[in-house]
């Protein structure tokens, strides 16, 4: 279709548009860190607790840090801010897991205090690992829930508050999101230069960026009303 059929379907994008935007994004990317997305660059980076209590967050932070530890192989879940990702997600997409975290983290911390007289977060790494090894056997569904979410928080798009500084993608050797991948990029022994961008650094997907409205008609649902029905009388 050389042009859109009438005014009804959403307008398409050409690859040229995308490259134009990608160019704009690479300029913007010069402004630096992941955190810059969450707050204006003039403010220092902050993290609030949106869902967890401070005590729950302490326990979870220590839990995540043992699942993917910082070690000779580089930063881990703590540096990726996996616990921060989980805290935010528990207020939204992962809300159905909120109660599991409340009871699971409380039980883990209670056991730590009972056995060692210290909160879980204050134990040394060896003792924490011993407790998590036990938890993996006895409370496998909670353990696997936290593991799954820690993987998400370490390797997700940094827009979601995890994979801070792209430490997760760097750990895996993932060369990053490209909108265009050449045949050479997919060749044997190719080593594409790592791109460290969020999906939402591409203006096409960034709602904050005015570029999104350029030439793109909103999906014209109202143009598809049953004939005979007034557009304004039926529904939202």
């Amino acid at each position: 279709m050389g042009k859109s059929p009438g005014d009804k379907a959403p307008k398409g994008h050409s690859r040229r548009d995308l490259f134009k935007w990608a160019g704009a994004a690479s300029v913007l990317a010069g402004t630096g860190s992941v955190q810059a997305q969450a707050a204006p660059a003039t403010l220092p980076y902050r993290e609030a607790l949106e869902t967890l209590t401070a005590a729950e967050a302490d326990t979870l932070e220590a839990f995540c840090a043992r699942l993917i530890p910082s070690d000779a192989n580089g930063p881990g879940a703590k540096e990726a801010r996996a616990a921060h990702y989980i805290d935010r997600a528990l207020g939204g997409a992962l809300a159905s897991a909120r109660d599991a975290y409340r009871s699971g983290l409380l039980a883990l911390d209670f056991k730590a205090r009972e056995a060692n007289g210290k909160p879980f977060s204050a134990l040394d790494a060896k003792s924490q690992d011993a407790m998590l090894t036990e938890l993996e056997k006895t409370e496998s569904s909670f353990f696997n829930l936290v593991r799954q979410h820690t993987l998400q928080g370490t390797f997700c798009d940094p827009y979601y508050g995890g994979n801070a500084g792209f430490v997760g993608w760097t750990l895996l050797g993932y060369p990053g999101i490209r909108m265009f991948v050449s045949e050479q990029d997919e060749a044997k022994n190719a080593h594409p230069v790592p791109v460290r961008k969020s999906a939402y650094d591409f203006p096409m997907f960034d709602r904050h960026n005015a570029h999104i409205a350029d030439g793109i008609a909103a999906p014209a649902d109202l143009a598809h009303m049953p004939y005979g029905m007034g557009n304004s009388k039926n529904g939202e």
Binding site: M1, A9, G168, L171, P175, F180, A199, H224
Partner: protein
Amino acid sequence: MANELKMTDVVIVGMGATGGVAALPLTRAGLEVVGLEAGTWLSPNDFAPDELRNNYRGWPQLVQKANHEVPTHRRRDGAPYSPRPSVHPMMNAVGGTTVHFWGQSWRLNPWDFKVVSATTARYGAARIPSGSTVEDWPFGLEELEPYYDKVEYEVGISGQAGNIKGKIDERGNIFEGPRAREYPMPALHGTGFTAMMADAAKAIGAHPFAGPAAINSRDYEGRAGCMYHGWCDRGGCPVSAKSSTNVTTIPKALATKRLKIVTRAQVLRIEVDAKGRASGVTYLRDGKSYFQPARIVLMGCFTFENVRLLLLSKSRLFPAGLSNNHGQVGRHYMTHNEIGSVSALFPQNLNNWYGLPAQGIAIDNWADDNFDHAGLDFIGGVNLWAMNARRPIAAASAETFGKTGTWGSDWKAFIRQNADRIHHGYMQKTTLPYDVNYLDLDPAMKDPLGDPVIRITADYQENERRVARFAQDKMAAWYQAAGAIEVRKGGVDGIMGIGAHAYGGTRMGDNVQTNVVNRWGFSHEVPNLGIMGASLMGTSGSRNPTLTIQALAWRTAQHLADNWKELAG
């Protein structure tokens, strides 16, 4: 009471893979068509390269109509229910599931149309598994070929022909049936990984080839070529290089000015008149109900909803559901045979980080009846597929081949070294229909309107388990020839639940006692009711069904246009 709308020639339920195709020949023939779609238009801005949102949170499937209608499953009558998935595999949108499908666009193998007669002729009737309800299709590949051809060119498929009018081309699938001409576009380009797997295929005596895809390998009809960025497996394409019907046949049909699409229309019932003919459909939109009268009703839903709408549409003349006076609606259900995984660990990085599921290398030597089954204990086979696609969360979640646990420093060292060295085979295998496998309405689970959801009662049988073990051996041999240092096989006791490739339920055939629709896709019992989709298919083949259901839909629509007076009454 429902608001009664103006009469139309044809109403199509669902503007997806089949409805989106059927609208084109109908409107070109001058017919007025209303397309009812439960979803909305999506725009290129909706298709962000976001693994968490698309693959793990199931956006946008999670928030759609179909997600309130996820079927229940049990292995057999009286068995306990299996866990119910949280996300339905289909998509509600203009374009339907072709928006997020992987795009593999195969023609069926000639054997798939005549499983009973071909098996009987070559090996004897005793080789048809007992309890199977499989029948030959009412026609062979040669009948569907012109419609495959039509769809390949109108939708836009890239690929390499292997058999043009009987002349074999070694660059393509040498086992495919004869086709009239080449694909409209060359196949997607290969990668370092697919080249390695192609060499390994030759080393085990197989014939590798690049499979067909509904993805542009170059600019086609004003749409861009693929960018190979690899984020189309749970989302659409931001540059419309994927040939989803919302950017191909639907815009062409809209351009005739004879197609009206009503989005967010949830169809509740197919209505019949006093003579037992379909009179139209009732749908709900923004809390109000409408009756859309039509001379012809075409259903183009996913298998589960085609069956559910028929079973829900009870009337005096059809007390067990529309077109169900022979008790065949819901019978012969099957999904692709998804049991028996194989994964491999390689000693070097594979550079799989980019690319897409449709960018792969195929082996068809052990599919269908392309090999001698005389000394084997099953019929059917497997299409082996090695794709070039990987994303970070999935890579970090991969299995560890028993080398470490799943967390801690040892695991981290493993995943750092091996994230790009693990591969999973994609093996589509034959499933047969059985009398014990069927769909009906769940007695307890309901959607938000109070209508029951579909209940699946189905399990793989011994033939499927044998095919799965055979397929695992072949996939393992392929990986080993490619240099894999570890190969792991999963079990073959998995459940046949909700498949993305779900077949049967309104099977097509000449015998009115065992089939819901005739050879043209029209109901044996309701002459002006047509049905489209994989619910018509009586055999699974060992490859993705979308192109086949689109070819069938085009054929049904063309038949309707050519015989309008007779069918519209």
